[in-house]
């Protein structure tokens, strides 16, 4: 396992927030992946000793503050998703990359569904199917992360 420091985790999360704040023009905003969530999941699954449910909650709160949505909305959805992610984290070593992608896909669906539920409770209109685009683009971003920073199962010694 490569040595990852706490600073790397928080720095990448900050970059993710920056990507989230990037002004997406026109239709592009519909396809915008949830940068914060994907980066968070990556660190949750790869370095659970550095990053846990509390980190997820903090990241969610930052997203809420930055995007101006109801405060606590993303915090809750990230918390729940992080819990599900961590509860199977030890078994992921046995997964191949396709199974891992499927697992992340399921996690992204959970996060979107929690947000959708909260929005419906808050009285927003039920959004169109385009609401689920970030799941697909988020999965692409996940694969990109794996390519860039390496997968989760890296041999300890050569």
């Amino acid at each position: 396992m490569r040595h990852t420091s706490l600073i790397t985790v928080y720095l990448t999360l900050l970059i993710a927030l920056l990507c989230q704040l990037f002004p997406w023009v026109g239709q592009g905003i519909i396809f915008r992946p949830d940068f914060m969530l994907v980066i968070l999941l990556y660190w949750l699954l790869r370095a659970p000793n550095l990053c846990n449910v509390g980190t997820a909650w903090l990241a969610g709160l930052l997203v809420d503050l930055a995007t101006g949505s109801l405060l606590g909305q993303h915090a809750l959805s990230f918390t729940i998703t992080a819990f599900v992610a961590l509860s199977y984290q030890r078994r992921l070593v046995l997964f191949n990359s396709w199974q891992l992608a499927g697992y992340v896909f399921a996690l992204l669906i959970i996060e979107r569904s929690v947000i959708l539920l909260l929005k419906l409770f808050a009285g927003n209109e039920s959004p169109s199917l385009a609401y689920f685009w970030p799941i697909v683009t988020g999965l692409l971003l996940w694969q990109f992360m794996i390519l860039m920073f390496g997968g989760l199962t890296r041999p300890k010694t050569t």
Partner: protein, 317 residues
């Protein structure tokens, strides 16, 4: 030294597998409860708006960095826009300015006349609202709400509730103010309603956003006198939007036999989806909103006498 590294690695990895503090489940329960209470506080009370404002102000530099590529792109595009196009635009604008000036000449006389007549009738004189020019800096972060962010905030004396217009008509209303930016909810948002009247027959109603670039005018009977193509303007009775601003044109009227109400769909006149400059109209002062005080102690004849006196006074001026 090698041994030291080994120990360091072990010290880092051992807690990961055996001692991890509270279990993930209890953490999840704790943080979920915390988020839900924050949501309740944020939705019901305004305690957290200060926190949000402070955070957004702290985030402003990051936002500038994030917005920079878009700004550069626009600048470059502006720089390379063809000379011919600019000349044409210049010509068109000059012509427009000329036409407007001619109209304005008439306006000033009409306005003076209007003020004079109103003073004769003891009416209150309509106030010209002050306005601040702003520019949309970006769309809201959530694509499913109709919100834009404008580059004017509480540092520029913007207050929540101000009406926002562009050159064609009403865009929306300021809903959240941060130190350097403010959020404008568009009239097409489902949360926003706007008091309107039909320009043709002065029929009063309230238009609601539908969340999909149209407005809905509910609770009007099926036999209401509205036609496709009617222009909706603000009625001004809310004291926020000045009267007479263009809002929308009626595009579709559906008569549903099952419902006692007509379904009236209209589209906004202003460039709600455009990336343009906006005017943020100042809120009227509290004294200006309050209705003119009636004078119950005066008898009708006396009141008429007073009016006559005033007319005389004016005539003698």
């Amino acid at each position: 030294m090698l041994k030291g590294v080994h120990q360091k690695l072990e010290a880092q990895q051992t807690p990961a597998f055996f001692t991890r503090g509270a279990s993930a489940f209890s953490r999840m329960v704790f943080f979920s409860a915390l988020s839900i209470s924050i949501m309740a506080v944020d939705a019901r009370f305004n305690y957290l708006s200060q926190v949000r404002q402070a955070f957004i102000a702290a985030l402003h530099p990051i936002e500038i960095v994030a917005n920079a590529p878009g700004e550069w792109y626009r600048d470059v595009k502006k720089y390379f826009s063809a000379h011919n196009e600019l000349v044409q635009e210049n010509y068109a604008l000059k012509q427009q300015a000329f036409e407007h000036q001619v109209m304005l000449q008439r306006l000033s006389t009409v306005q003076a006349e209007n003020v004079h007549l109103r003073s004769l009738l003891n009416g209150n004189i309509p106030i010209q609202p002050k306005a601040v020019l702003g520019e949309i800096s970006h769309m809201g972060r959530d694509p499913f709400t109709h919100v834009v962010v404008v580059n004017r905030g509480s540092q520029h004396n913007i207050k929540a509730g101000q009406a926002v217009v562009d050159s064609k008509g009403v865009i929306g209303q300021v809903t959240r103010v941060y130190p350097f930016t403010s959020e404008v909810t568009l009239i097409t948002d489902k949360e926003l309603s706007i008091p309107i009247q039909i320009e043709r027959n002065q029929l009063r109603a309230i238009a609601f956003g539908e969340g999909n670039n149209t407005l809905d005018i509910p609770y009007l009977p099926t036999n209401v006198d509205i036609k496709v193509g009617d222009k909706l303007v603000t009625s001004g009775i809310d004291g926020i939007y000045p009267a007479g601003l263009a809002v929308a044109t009626v595009t579709k009227i559906l008569q549903n036999t099952e419902s006692p109400f007509a379904k009236i769909v209209s589209t906004p006149i202003a460039g709600v989806g455009n990336h343009t400059q906006l005017l943020l109209l100042a809120l009227p002062d509290a004294e200006e909103i309050s209705a003119p005080q009636p004078e119950p102690e005066l008898k009708p004849e006396v009141a008429i006498d007073r009016k006559k006196n005033k007319v005389k006074q004016n005539a003698s001026h």
